[in-house]
Amino acid sequence: MHIADKTPRNLCIALCVLLAFGTIMPNWFAFLATVSMAKGMVVIGLIVLMRTGLVSFGQGLYYCLGGYTVGIAGKYLGITDAVGILFVSAFVAGCVGALLGLLLCRYREIFFAMLTMALSMILFGMLVKSDMLGSTDGFNVAHPTLLGWNPGPEGLSIMIYSLACLIAFLIVFFVHRYFQSGMGFAGESIRENEIRVEYLGISPRRVIFYKYVLAAILAAIGGSLTALVAGHVDPEMAYWTTSGEFVFVALLGGTGHVVAAFIGAFLYELIRTLAFDLTPYTWQMILGITLLMVILFLPKGLWSLLTAYKTGRG
């Protein structure tokens, strides 16, 4: 039986709704939504890897790289165009990812997690000691423009928000297609049994390499958007707790669907913002308890609720 994939249709609807909603949105909410979309992109990269059975505890590396590329491009190279900047940081992250991917595609499980973490901590260590880039304080990102249009301080958040919506739409669309492709399914088979995949004539290392590079680019785009909307970058973006946060969000949303990453990221930001406002001293505790609860009761993430509802109805 052929089940029609409604995702593209639903995505188009979601994009229109989000863009329309953006015009009436208060600034603080636009900020929250943009940040969660940016983080959602990083998490999609993580989901791509997790479907292959690999958990990276070092996506902060590319998140930070993307952010710093934006900062450096604006400060030293004079590139302030938001779209151009995104391409530059995606390219930089792609190159770094391709280089490190050659090494990392040999590793699995806990060693993959630990090595990715070490690599992101190397970047953190370098940034903390580099006075030119503001050391531990980081530096401010230049005011971005969009294709020659300068929106000014008021229009900035809405501009970045719309840009983020569009990019998120494109990413979800293509990664969703990717999951339905041969490469996407190869990833899942590698998670189930790598040696049998080899028997079938597919090189798991090559599959993992491409997935790693893809995840790197996605994380860099997320980092760039965060830098653009926050107007500031600091080495904390590469710290291991940032990477841990992404894994947390991936688990919260679940790896069942690409959109789950955005739902997870938005909920995470919402919980964090609310918890921070209501109980400034115990917000981490609330997050920790949430994480444990999700692992205990929803091991496949929030998305599993939806699939359970669908199968229950069908």
Partner: protein
């Protein structure tokens, strides 16, 4: 010559401290296959307990030398209690899950503990310098070293020896090694694996807390120290090979000496060096230095 001596002694002191932190982590991993991210928080708990104990002890005006017993006892006690609560309250219901998921479980515990520490001890810095200055200083080839640092080395060596003897020369150690080797077979042979887990986790937590207690007099105890320590301990443990106590010792020495070398010759590279060494070792030996590679199963 003097620089070499300073580098060597600094390096060994730092390594001893790293070893004490990392050995608890590697022990827990070896037995339970859990890479405990909350290990740094246990370290912080030990440091805070020790620091507040030292403050209380010296303001009460007892014999100064007794303070060592009190603050180290407090650190170990707090670590053991926290370990017991974590194992019973959280880990026990999570056993059997994937290794990577278990990392996330301990990440959740880490988030919770960070706030628990803030709730108990507040956000102010604690100072417990008295035990540090009590033992005085030594002059060696014209350079002054704090004697407390030498005590740290002695502590690391004795902890290492005790662990080695405990694992290799006692009945309990043999049972533990059986569990490390094959959990299911040891269960079938009548070893109480769940109790072994509990004991191991308490032991590992106490070691982490003891490391915190030992370093509390040498620095100011502030929020967030645990998070930094955890990642250092990971590096050490991964270099040596997860689950290997001997590996932790070698890893600690490598990281310690390299860091001291960097600090005294090229300080910009301090953090870089630690993870650089880790990445380099993993590139050459993916499983760490002291763990043999396992065969792949279909």
């Amino acid at each position: 010559m003097e620089t070499i001596l300073v580098i060597l002694i600094d390096g060994v002191v730092y390594s001893s401290w790293l070893f004490i932190v990392a050995t608890g982590l590697t022990l827990v991993y070896g037995v339970m296959k859990i890479l405990n991210m909350a290990h740094g928080s246990l370290y912080a708990i030990g440091a805070y307990s020790a620091a507040s104990m030292v403050g209380w002890y010296f303001s009460a005006g007892y014999v100064p030398w007794g303070s060592y017993l009190v603050f180290l006892g407090a650190a170990v006690g707090a670590g053991a209690l926290a370990g017991l609560l974590i194992e019973r309250g959280v880990l026990r219901i999570m056993y059997g899950r994937d290794e990577v998921i278990m990392i996330l479980v301990t990440y959740g515990v880490l988030l919770i503990l960070e706030d628990v520490i803030k709730l108990i001890w507040g956000v102010d810095a604690y100072f417990a310098y008295q035990p540090y200055s009590l033992v005085g200083r030594t002059k060696l080839l014209g350079i002054t070293f704090a004697n407390y640092d030498f005590l740290l080395i002695a502590a690391a060596v004795s902890i290492g020896l005790m662990l080695w003897a405990g694992l290799n020369r006692t009945r309990q150690g043999k049972l533990l090694r059986a569990v490390i080797h094959d959990r299911e077979i040891s269960m079938a042979m009548g070893i109480n694996v769940k109790r072994t887990f509990l004991v191991t986790f308490i032991l590992g937590s106490s070691l982490g807390a003891l490391a915190g207690g030992l370093t509390a007099p040498a620095l100011s105890v502030v929020p967030g120290i645990g998070v930094e320590v955890a990642i250092l301990a990971f590096a050490v443990v991964v270099i040596g090979g997860l689950g290997s106590v001997g590996g932790a010792a070698v890893g600690a020495l490598m990281v310690g000496i390299c860091r001291a070398l960097a600090v005294h010759t090229f300080p910009q590279a301090e953090l870089f060096v630690i993870y650089g060494v880790m990445a380099l070792v993993l590139m050459i030996r993916p499983q760490g230095l002291f763990v043999s590679t396992t065969a792949r199963k279909i």
